[in-house]
Symmetry: C2
Subunit: 245 residues, 2 copies
DNA sequence: CCACTAAATGAATGCCGTTCATTTACGAGA
DNA sequence: TCTCGTAAATGAACGGCATTCATTTAGTGG
């Protein structure tokens, strides 16, 4: 199981490869790649914050295909099995990343703006964050909130905003879930190739759809994914707004 | 040793190739599981329809974890490499499955019912089909329609329905995309565990959210995923309906 | 009749996540 | 101060995965 992050433990950032002076290595391998010998090191090399940061760096460099336990270990100058002293499985690493990313979602508007614009800002921010991290979506979808304290914190802020806006209590969760579902699906949509709707050789047998695609392209303000997201989001905001008392 | 080969071998693990049993085969080749010798068989063993059917059977029995190229080959009584004469990669297998499933989505209402109820039926059907197949969603999201003729056919029917209902042409694709995004996200939601919103020990620090969860549970009509889907879908239908001319 | 291609086998590849025995260091209790 | 339990590292596995390749065999067009 994933251990909840301790409040930023002193963190001892990666100890400089060779601590100055105190003890010189006898066989001092002066080349950059000093090999650590087996056994517990004097100062811990790994912690959850470091693992999370390294995972995020790998993902930004090579995408989620680049995030393997071996690559993660290599980037931390550690044997792969060492990771398992801090994490139970690769899924735990994904959870760490997810927790980090959720904290990037902007919920500040709920404290300062009317409900409609607060929801709008939150939703766009949420979509933008996870459009870059769609492989996490299947993980989030099945993730009990207990395991994700920062996600839970986001829900608290959002649901408080809904409540303050006069939303009937028994519909708050459903409305948030519906919005989230739309956001996750739309995040995938952002990653779709530009020509996804090119019906190619079948254009003649699909006149209605092909015409609609061409008409959208002709209008063509903004990326199609953004236009669709805006259209759906405004419909949801409008529909949900009517539920307020 | 008693050695009975199951005629159709349901889920029984195959005997290891190096077991002594293999030697006995020479003296007893008469039972059902005849081993095919190398080289092209007189009649082709594999085709795309058979591969698709076998993949669907594996998925229904063991989920998507059970769908491996090795398992697929085994269920078709074929060596794994034989599959690659018909399919370029495992992704192709998933595409075959996706194409098959899309044909199961019910679009008939667009021919017979008013726009609102047609969209409603289509959306529920679409969600239900893919709720059982969420691992396909990342594949669909990036899939050019050219590669999925039946998906394209579905789009044609749906867009024709929107057009006939008076939808402005340049918004048809965006509306469908928005609905689809909501549907895919909601399909994930169906698979979530029942206690996903149990905030556990953090309940006291999240009063608004915890209260909303409890209130939903108290009302408790139908599954939460269905309630949220209905709420969002009706909002989208209402909002989009206003666009009609 | 022969060359070519299609469709099978079977062996091998490299990568993946994960496990396990082992080594070493730290810290608490006797 | 010794000692013992626990934490954190190494390094060598393991089985499973998708995929590739050489090989064998059967049908087909020229």
């Amino acid at each position: 199981m994933l251990w909840i992050l301790p409040a930023e433990r002193p963190a001892m950032p990666a100890p400089p490869a060779n601590s100055p002076g105190i003890r010189e290595r006898e066989t001092a391998p002066k080349n950059g790649a000093e090999r650590r010998r087996a056994g517990r090191p004097a100062a811990a090399v790994l912690d959850l914050a470091g693992i999370t940061a390294a995972a995020l760096r790998l993902i930004s460099e090579n995408g989620y295909d680049g995030l393997t336990m071996a690559a993660l270990a290599r980037s931390l100058h550690v044997a792969p099995s060492a990771l398992y002293n801090h994490v139970e499985s690769k899924r735990d690493v994904l959870l760490l990343v997810e927790d980090h990313l959720t904290a990037l979602v902007d919920v500040t508007a709920f404290a300062a703006e009317p409900w409609e614009s607060a929801v709008r800002k939150w939703a766009w921010s949420y979509r933008d964050v996870f459009a870059e991290h769609t492989p996490l979506i299947p993980v989030i979808a099945v993730l009990p909130v207990t395991d994700a304290p920062r996600t839970l914190a986001m829900y608290e802020t959002v649901s408080a905003g809904f409540r303050a806006a006069g939303f009937p209590e028994e519909r708050i969760v459903s409305a948030i879930v519906a919005l989230e579902s739309f956001i996750f699906g739309s995040a995938y949509d952002v990653t779709a190739p530009a020509d996804i709707f090119d019906s190619g050789s079948m254009a003649e047998s699909t006149p209605s759809f092909t015409g609609a695609v061409r008409s959208l392209a002709a209008q063509g303000h903004g990326k199609p994914a953004d236009v669709a997201f805006s259209l759906g989001l405004e419909a949801l905001i409008g529909g949900f707004g009517a539920l307020r008392e």
